[in-house]
């Protein structure tokens, strides 16, 4: 499925798939861009959206996921617990941002070439 196709259909069974993908992840202290490339498909689409938004509010996430308040809280809570998202200072409402790791090794992992094997 294309990226846009996945985004458009995020409100159906794919939401359940997103929960499964999140649950299977270990706790992380932030995520690097190269790790995002290798995330499972639905989670990767969500993380791509968050990178492009830079920071977002709860309502933005609910609209993107096409989910009600309860389900959106569930996903956001898991994202924060897993260390993928952190709360940042907002002007009025609470805002969130992807928790990107600082670049210290600089180069991406050598197995980045595996991307063409997927």
């Amino acid at each position: 499925m294309t990226h846009q196709g996945l985004v458009n259909s995020m409100d159906q069974d794919l939401f359940a798939q997103l929960l499964i993908e999140l649950a299977s992840l270990p706790d992380m202290d932030g995520v690097s861009m190269s790790e995002i490339v290798f995330l499972p498909e639905h989670l990767r689409v969500l993380m791509n959206w968050m990178v492009r938004e830079n920071s977002f509010q709860f309502n933005n996430l609910a609209v993107f996921l096409k989910q009600d308040e309860e389900n959106t809280h569930l996903i956001l809570g898991m994202l924060v617990k897993k260390g993928l998202v952190e709360e940042v200072e907002g002007d009025e409402q609470e805002e969130y941002q992807i928790h990107l790791k600082a670049s210290r090794n600089y180069q991406v992992p050598k197995d980045i070439w595996k991307v063409i094997d997927d």
């Binding site: 990226h3 690097s32 861009m33 190269s34 995002i36 490339v37 990767r44 689409v45 791509n48 959206w49 990178v51 492009r52 830079n54 941002q97 992807i98 990107l100 790791k101 600082a102 670049s103 210290r104 090794n105 600089y106 180069q107 991406v108 980045i112 070439w113 991307v115 063409i116 997927d118």
Partner: protein
């Protein structure tokens, strides 16, 4: 609505900075406000094409990444340096060319997330129509971020085997990162090649539009080092190809 455009290549020496500088000039000639960020902190070079030297750089991208200043403080209005009347503006955000500062950023790294914040601040603070990101060749954390936040990714390649493979990886990664639009530019194509055939072949291999094909030209190589080519040689056939590429970016 403003657009972020990353200009990338898998290997060095493909003409990335020259292409970026020419796109900035052509867009500014059309009245656009353009920012150019040199994120090639390991080997910065695009400032040369705008005629800047060290003394004109009060702040650099490095200073912003180390929290010494805001990113808009690092922007230099280089429109006058282009020495051609234009209704738009070109702002350069240079990387430091001081050896110690390059070594420090390589040694200590930096918070990649700051780049994302900085790009947004540049778009807002300088009221930009286009933000062009001149990336470091290859793939590292900051190039992946630049690719991920781009509205358009331009990948420049030469028609040789190493570039074919590296470009393939880059195209696949850009697709995984959900880049909305992607164009290829084939540069330095031997004169003996059929340009139309090269375009069709590359498009077939990557399933991606080739927006421009530049034949190899010694004349071009010589002239390009003097500054922004399309401004110096507005009637040259290569300038027409640059304008064709700009047409894809503004469509």
């Amino acid at each position: 609505m403003s657009k972020i455009i990353s200009i990338h290549s898998f290997r060095g020496g493909t003409g990335k900075s020259n292409t970026t500088a020419n796109m900035s000039a052509i867009l500014a000639m059309q009245g656009q406000r353009v920012g150019v960020v040199d994120t090639d902190v390991q080997s910065p070079g695009i400032h040369v094409l705008y005629g800047l030297d060290d003394s004109q750089m009060v702040h650099s991208l490095n200073d912003y990444l180390w929290g010494k200043c805001g990113i808009t403080d690092t922007a230099i209005d280089v429109t006058q340096n282009l020495k051609v009347p234009m209704t738009g503006k070109v702002f350069l955000i240079p990387s430091s060319i001081k050896a110690g500062e390059i070594a420090r950023v390589l040694r200590e790294g930096y918070d990649v997330g700051l780049l994302n914040d900085g790009f947004q601040d540049l778009l807002d603070g300088l009221k930009l129509d286009y933000l062009l990101i001149d990336t470091h060749p290859g793939l590292n954390e900051e190039t992946l971020l630049s690719i991920a936040i781009s509205d358009i990714l331009v990948i420049i390649m030469r028609p040789d085997q190493q570039d074919y493979q590296g470009t393939g990886v880059t195209v696949e990664i850009a697709r995984k990162l959900g880049v909305p639009a992607m164009f290829l530019v084939v540069n330095k194509v031997p004169q003996a090649f059929d340009m139309k055939e090269v375009k069709e072949r590359v498009e077939r291999i990557y399933n991606c539009t080739v927006a421009a094909v530049f034949p190899h030209s010694e004349e071009m190589m010589t002239l390009a080092s003097a500054g922004v080519f399309s401004l110096h040689y507005p009637d040259h056939p290569f300038t027409a190809i640059y304008k064709q590429l700009a047409g894809y970016l503004t469509a």
